[in-house]
Symmetry: C2
């Protein structure tokens, strides 16, 4: 099995620009400021509407780099395969990774494969680590946000988590809810290249929009005010959330992010975001304030205000 995998993976991921050494790969980086990240993907099921574990493993790691404004360049892939995984399944996943890397403009440069005995894994787990270069002079992180900053979201929330749960629970809706899984590096590059003074970006993965905002409020020691009616949620996602008992604010996304930036630059950001084919539905969802430091306050659709908490209780397991 091991040999077969190596024969399958190596030609597929054959790297042109990099020099493959025996155990590592040599890269020439054009910038000294480098971003580095890692994530393992254990999503169940392996295939879901709008994506699969392979494309997710590329998009997720690319997005983690993009959220610091880095330009993702190189990806490593490490597979932990449960004995007995059908070759056809593996082949589909490898093709999906290859395609996602190509569309995203990153190169898969090094990898590893381990096989575990049947019953000691679950089909396939994938780790991807990524290296990007930082071309800008911004400090994109929660500590950089300022009172008055406007918060922009690039599209509707809740798709990824609901797409997974619908498959897992065997639910059928009138339309198939597709994951929003998508690479964010190209749209982030356009925002950065436009010279926008971006203070913070964050993708809305585990824990959803709420957890991301609460973390940023806590880290920045500023308050965040959001308006529920401006947060886009598709009708079918809202319906599924009601059936499954989820709040869309806490459901994971894989192609959505928030950007914090000064008021006078928002229109330019919205124009860029709304021209993105992956998520042409950007909205202003809120603002940063000096009051209510460390808290996220939401004005609900019926006009009441409430404090938005971190997700209490269990996260949805194996959503990514």
């Amino acid at each position: 099995m091991h040999n077969l995998i190596e024969k399958m993976f190596l030609p597929e991921f054959n790297s042109k620009e990099s020099k493959v050494l025996h155990d590592s790969v040599e890269l020439i980086l054009k910038k000294k400021r480098v971003a580095f990240t890692t994530d393992s993907y254990v999503v169940n099921p392996l295939f879901f509407p709008g994506g699969d574990i392979g494309s997710l493993a590329i998009h997720g790691t690319v997005n983690d780099l993009a959220m610091s404004g880095a330009e993702p360049l190189y990806i490593s892939t490490a597979f932990i395969i449960e004995e007995g995984l059908p070759m056809e399944t593996m082949w589909r996943i490898v093709q999906s990774m290859k395609e996602a890397a190509k569309n995203t403009g990153v190169e898969i440069v090094t990898g590893d494969t381990k096989v575990v005995d049947k019953g000691k894994g679950d089909g396939i787990f994938i780790n991807t680590s990524g290296i990007g270069i930082i071309n800008h002079k911004l400090n994109i992180n929660p500590a950089s946000i300022l009172p008055g900053d406007v918060i922009v979201i690039n599209g509707d929330i809740g798709r990824h988590g609901i797409a997974i749960m619908a498959v897992r629970e065997g639910l059928e809706f009138e339309t198939t809810i597709e994951s929003d899984s998508a690479p964010l590096n190209s749209i982030v590059k356009r925002l950065v290249d436009a010279g926008l003074d971006i203070h913070c970006m964050r993708d809305l993965t585990r824990g959803g929009l709420s957890s991301a905002l609460v973390e940023i409020a806590q880290a920045s020691k500023l308050g965040i005010n959001i308006n529920e009616k401006n947060i886009p949620v598709a009708e079918d996602v809202r319906g599924a959330c009601e059936i499954l008992g989820f709040d869309p604010l806490y459901v994971a996304n894989e192609g959505r992010f928030v950007t914090f930036l000064p008021d006078n630059q928002v229109q330019k950001a919205l124009d860029i975001l709304n021209s993105d084919k992956n998520a042409p539905e950007a909205h202003i969802i809120g603002k940063v304030s000096e009051s209510n430091a460390g808290l996220v306050i939401m004005r609900s659709t019926i006009g009441a205000t409430r404090i938005v908490d971190m997700l209490s209780g269990e996260q949805l397991p194996r959503i990514c």
Copy 2:
């Protein structure tokens, strides 16, 4: 569980030199030539004489970087934890990684944790990816070896694989056979800094000494001649190999490597290698020739010669 892990890991691996962004870490690299590698560790059992999955995950990735002569600097760690893994086990592994990183001089800068349901993993799997900088002008790879090059090994072979198998099979010997798991970056740095014209290095992990040499012979299209009596194997390891039906030439190591370099530089290399506290038993094991291109020929202890093959049949599973 997830929260507990984050609380456990973050303070332990708290990074001083690097700037932790939300989803990735920013690093300042002093050189443009960079080595990048990834490996997942699924070793069973998690703890074995001479090491554990934690220290192995640091040493293995550090060694992959060192084999290109790179100076390993930064490591990412990603855990896939099976629900129900005792906290005490995880704590020991985290401490072991921290200790190994400290002793090796690398910094754990970013990480990820995923939890899978009971029965869908096996205790813990660890992925580490690593970044190193290349400070030398050498081309350390199989294509650089030349006829007449001498092959030096840094110590006795077979310890790691046998240490694992002995635990797994419940075998007891008069003395406990300990894994050779050790970081090789410091000894490699000394070889490189000594100005030696190193043509190739390779650590002798999966597939052991034989597989490493066969791969190099095939890649370089040159012949490799080795002498069995010069290949150090400890008596207890040899005995265990006989009981278990293994050939030490094919058993995995985690702290042994071969170096290919010109004849007139061998004594200097031996002097450096023999001053290493981890493996003070360096030997010349063979030579590169123009004849028998692509083959490894071994002169056995009884004077016969034979072609050394790649490991045929199954590798020992989950040895690393």
